[in-house]
C-alpha cells in the first residue's frame, strides 16, 4: 500500500459517535498499514455528521482531514496516500459562527494523555487558582457571569459563595454527569474528549469552596466517558494533584442506573446514597444539607469544564462573550432534521436561525421547529428563529435553554405526536411520588395517545392546557414542573395541528398511524413484488393493492420499494377491504 511520506501523525476520532460510525474498524486497518507513523485516538470535535473522521498531520504542519472514511482497504489507502477522495473541510457556516472555547481541545488531543493536556495549557488554571485565596477564585467565577449549564441557569459564582460560607467537617462537590435528556450529548463529548478539563474544574471548585469529597455522577450509558475519566483520575492521583491545601481529596465516579429524575439535585443525592432517586422538598438546599447531610454543591459537567478557562483567562475575558444576562459560550447537541448534526459551541446570544441553518445546514424551507431543553423544553416554531439564544429569551417563548439538546424538527413531523413522545418519556420517568406528576402526566399522556389515535375530542385540548398548568405548579421538582412544557408550547404554537387531529381526525404530517393510509401507485409500480414478499401482515395483494384493514403502517414496503411508488396518504384515501 502506498503510504505518503509526508505523513507525520494520524488522529482518529474515537468518541462514541465515531465508533458508532465505524472508527474502530478504520483505526484497526490504519494500524495494519501505517508502519511506524504515530496514530492517536482523539475525542470528538463535534462534526458527527462526517464520522468517521481521520486527521492527517503532515511534516509541513498542515492538517488534512478525511470524512466518512470507509473501513475498507481502499478507504484507508485513500487516506494514507493523501488521496483526493473524502477530503473534509469545516463548512463555512460553522467556521464563521462557532466559537470553540470549552471544546477547544476536544478532538485535538488524546483524551487519556495527561501530558498532552498539560502541553496545551491544562492545569494552568488550577495552578493559578491555588496561588489565589479561595474567595478570589469565587470572585473570578462571579465576574465571569457563568450560569449553570445544566439547564437551571443559576449563577455559578453565587452557588460557590453559598458553599464556601458553610462550616462543616466535610463538604461535598458533585459533578452532575447524568445527562438524561434524550437528545443531548454535550457532556458525553466533553467527558470522552477532555476528561482532564472537567477534573481540573472540579479541583478548582473544591479548592474555592472547601469541598474534600468529589463525586462524578455519570450515567451508565456512557461507558467510554467513564473509562476516560477513570484513567484521568488515576493520573491525577499519581501526580498528587488531588492534594490541595494539604488535604487529600477523594474523587469517586458513581454510575447512574438509568433514571432521568436523577438529574434533579436532591434525587441525585438520594441516588448517590444508594437509595431510590426520589427528590425531596427544598429547603433545606443541598448546600445546607446534602449527601449524608453534609453541605453539598452540585455543578454540571459543562459548567465545571468552563472553570479552568475562566480562571486561566480571567472572568472578564469570559464575560466579554455573550449577552447581558448570559455570558460565555454554550454547547449544543444538534440533531434531527438537518444536514450537519453534531456538537457545536457558540457564543451566547447567537440566534436560533444561525445555529440551525448556518451551522446545522438545515434547509429553511423544510424546518418546522426546534426543540430545546429536551423533554422539559418546548418546540420553538421557525418564525421565532430570530430569537437570540440565551436563558431569558428562550424562557419568554415558553421553552428553556436546558442542558443544550437541540432537535431540529422538519415539516414532515407531527407536533402532536412529538408532544406525545415527550410525555411518554416523562410520565415513565416520573419518580412516582407526587400526585400531579405521577398521575397528572399519565393522564396527559393518555389524552395525547387518544388524540394521535384519532379518538380525541376538542375538550381534550382544554384538559391538556388546564392539567398542564396544574402539573407545572403542583409538582415538587423540575421534572414535574417542566414535563407539561412540550404540550403547552406546542398547543401555543401549533394548535392547528391539534385541532385537525381532534376535529377532522387528520394528521397533516401523515405521521399518526391511526390517521393515515398507505397507498401503492399502480401506474409507477414495476411489479417487483418486494413489497408483497416483505409485508409482515400480508396486506399487499397479488395484484399490488394495499389493504389498509390489514396494514399495520410499519412502512416496510415504503422503505423497500425501489421505485418509491408506495407512500402514506390521508386516512380514507387508501383502499379498504370490501371497497371497490
Amino acid at each position: 500500500m502506498m503510504v505518503s511520506d509526508k505523513i507525520k501523525k494520524i488522529k482518529v476520532g474515537t468518541a462514541s459517535c465515531g465508533i458508532a460510525a465505524g472508527a474502530d474498524e478504520v483505526l484497526e486497518l490504519l494500524r495494519q498499514y501505517v508502519g511506524d507513523i504515530t496514530i492517536e485516538e482523539v475525542g470528538c470535535v463535534g462534526h458527527c455528521y462526517a464520522e468517521p473522521l481521520v486527521d492527517v498531520e503532515t511534516v509541513d504542519g498542515t492538517v488534512i482531514s478525511f470524512q466518512h472514511v470507509p473501513s475498507t482497504v481502499a478507504g484507508v489507502e485513500n487516506v494514507l496516500g493523501l488521496g483526493d477522495r473524502g477530503r473534509f473541510t469545516i463548512p463555512a457556516g460553522r467556521r464563521n459562527k462557532e466559537l470553540h472555547k470549552v471544546i477547544g481541545l476536544a478532538g485535538k488531543i488524546c483524551p487519556t494523555s495527561f501530558e498532552q493536556y498539560v502541553e496545551n495549557g491544562g492545569y494552568d488554571g488550577l495552578k493559578k487558582a491555588l496561588s489565589m485565596i479561595p474567595q478570589a477564585v469565587i470572585d473570578e467565577v462571579r465576574k465571569s457571569g457563568l450560569r449553570g449549564r445544566g439547564g437551571g441557569g443559576f449563577p455559578t459564582g453565587t452557588k460557590w459563595g453559598f458553599m464556601a460560607a458553610k462550616q462543616a467537617e466535610q463538604k461535598v462537590l458533585i459533578c452532575n454527569a447524568d445527562e438524561g435528556d434524550p437528545g443531548a450529548f454535550m457532556d458525553r463529548s466533553l467527558m470522552e474528549s477532555v476528561p482532564h478539563q472537567l477534573l481540573e474544574g472540579m479541583l478548582i471548585g473544591a479548592y474555592a469552596t472547601g469541598a474534600t469529597k468529589l463525586f462524578i455522577y455519570c450515567r451508565a450509558e456512557y461507558p467510554l466517558a467513564i473509562k476516560h475519566l477513570s484513567i484521568a483520575i488515576d493520573q491525577i492521583y499519581e501526580k498528587r494533584l488531588n492534594v490541595i491545601a494539604g488535604l487529600e481529596l477523594e474523587i469517586v465516579i458513581k454510575e447512574g442506573a438509568g433514571a432521568f429524575v436523577c438529574g434533579e439535585e436532591t434525587a441525585l443525592i438520594h441516588s448517590l446514597e444508594g437509595k431510590r432517586g426520589t427528590p425531596r422538598f427544598r429547603p433545606p438546599f443541598p448546600t445546607d444539607s446534602g449527601w449524608q447531610d453534609y453541605p453539598t454543591m452540585i455543578n454540571n459537567v459543562e459548567t465545571l469544564a468552563n472553570i479552568p478557562l475562566i480562571v486561566r483567562e480571567g472572568g472578564e475575558m469570559f464575560a466579554s462573550v455573550g449577552t447581558e444576562g448570559s455570558k460565555g459560550t454554550k454547547l449544543f447537541a444538534l440533531a434531527g432534521d438537518l444536514r450537519c448534526p453534531g456538537l457545536v459551541e457558540v457564543p451566547m446570544g447567537i440566534t436560533l436561525a444561525e445555529i440551525v441553518f448556518d451551522i446545522g445546514g438545515a434547509n429553511p424551507a423544510e424546518v418546522k421547529a426546534v426543540q430545546t431543553g429536551g423533554p422539559s423544553g418546548g418546540c420553538i416554531p421557525v418564525d421565532k428563529f430570530d430569537t437570540p439564544v440565551d436563558y431569558d429569551s428562550l424562557k419568554s417563548l415558553g421553552a428553556i435553554m436546558g442542558s443544550g439538546g437541540m432537535i431540529v424538527i422538519g415539516k414532515q413531523r407531527c407536533m402532536v405526536e412529538t408532544a406525545r413522545y415527550f410525555l411518554d418519556f416523562t410520565h415513565r420517568e416520573s419518580c412516582g411520588k407526587c400526585t400531579f406528576c405521577r398521575v397528572g402526566t399519565k393522564r396527559m399522556f393518555e389524552t395525547l395517545e387518544r388524540i394521535t389515535a384519532g379518538e380525541g375530542v376538542p375538550e381534550d385540548l382544554d384538559f391538556l392546557e388546564e392539567m398542564g398548568n396544574k402539573v407545572r405548579s403542583g409538582s415538587l421538582c423540575g421534572l414535574g414542573q417542566t414535563a407539561p412544557n412540550p404540550v403547552l408550547v406546542t398547543l401555543r404554537y401549533f394548535r392547528s395541528e391539534y385541532e385537525s387531529h381532534v376535529r377532522e381526525k387528520q394528521c397533516g404530517a401523515l405521521v399518526c398511524n391511526a390517521l393515515t393510509d398507505v397507498l401503492l401507485d399502480q401506474e409507477k409500480c414495476i411489479k417487483c413484488k418486494l413489497c408483497i414478499k416483505n409485508c409482515p401482515v400480508n396486506a399487499v395483494s397479488e395484484d399490488f393493492v394495499i389493504d389498509n384493514t390489514l396494514c399495520v403502517r410499519c412502512d416496510t414496503c415504503i422503505e423497500i420499494c425501489p421505485k418509491k411508488t408506495i407512500y402514506r396518504v390521508k386516512k380514507g384515501e387508501g383502499y379498504y377491504r370490501g371497497q371497490n
Binding site: S16, C17, I19, A20, A21, C48, Y49, E51, E179, G180, D181, P182, G183, A184, F185, R188, A220, E221, P223, K254, E255, G256, A257, G258, A259, F260, S271, L272, E273, G274, K275, R276, G277, Q292, A333, L334, A335, G336, P341, G342, L343, Q371, G374, P375, G405, I407, R413, T418, Y421, F422, F425, E429, C431, P536, V552, C554, D555, T556, E559, I560
Partner: protein, 151 residues
C-alpha cells in the same frame, strides 16, 4: 448464601451508599439480578431485602431476568424518535419475533428500548451488547440482525 460466590463484592465497601454500585457489579457478571443476588446484596450492604428490591426496581438499568446473548437496545431518544425509531423497533421486533422487554426462546436476542445512547447525530441508532449502529434504515437493521444470528 455461598460466601465465595459473591467474593467480588468485597472490592466495594459494604456501606449502604454503595448499593447501586454493588448491584451494577452483580449485573455486570450475570447480566441480571436474581432473587438470590438481592438477598446477598441485602446482607452485604446491611439493608432489608425489600429496600434493595425497591432501589433496584426504581432504576431502568437493572434487569430481573437473564438477557439473551445479544442485548439489543433500540434508542428512543428525541433525535432517534423523530427519525423513526418506532419503525426500527417494529422491524427488529418483526425480524426477531419478540417485543420490547422480551428475550427470544433460544436466549439469543433480548430487545429493549433505551432513552438515549448519546449518538443523536447518527439517529436512528441501536446498540447490540453496547456497540452502537447508526443511521439505520430497514435494510441495514435487518442485515445487522442477520449477521448476529449467524455468529
Amino acid at each position: 448464601m455461598e460466601q465465595t460466590e459473591y467474593d467480588y463484592l468485597k472490592k466495594i465497601a459494604p456501606e449502604p451508599g454503595n448499593l447501586i454500585k454493588g448491584l451494577q457489579a452483580i449485573q455486570a457478571r450475570e447480566g441480571y439480578v436474581s432473587d438470590d443476588d438481592i438477598r446477598a446484596a441485602a446482607t452485604y450492604f446491611s439493608l432489608a431485602e425489600v429496600e434493595v428490591e425497591g432501589v433496584l426496581s426504581f432504576y431502568a438499568q437493572f434487569k430481573r431476568n437473564p438477557p439473551g446473548k445479544y442485548r439489543i437496545c433500540v434508542c428512543d431518544g428525541t433525535a432517534c424518535h423523530i427519525k423513526g425509531s418506532a419503525l426500527i423497533l417494529d422491524w427488529v421486533s418483526t425480524e426477531l419475533g419478540i417485543k420490547a422487554g422480551e428475550t427470544d426462546a433460544k436466549k439469543l436476542f433480548s430487545l429493549e428500548t433505551v432513552a438515549c445512547l448519546g449518538c443523536c447525530s447518527l439517529a436512528p441508532v441501536m446498540s447490540i451488547n453496547g456497540k452502537v449502529f447508526g443511521n439505520l434504515d430497514r435494510k441495514a437493521t435487518v442485515k445487522i440482525l442477520k449477521e448476529h444470528r449467524k455468529k
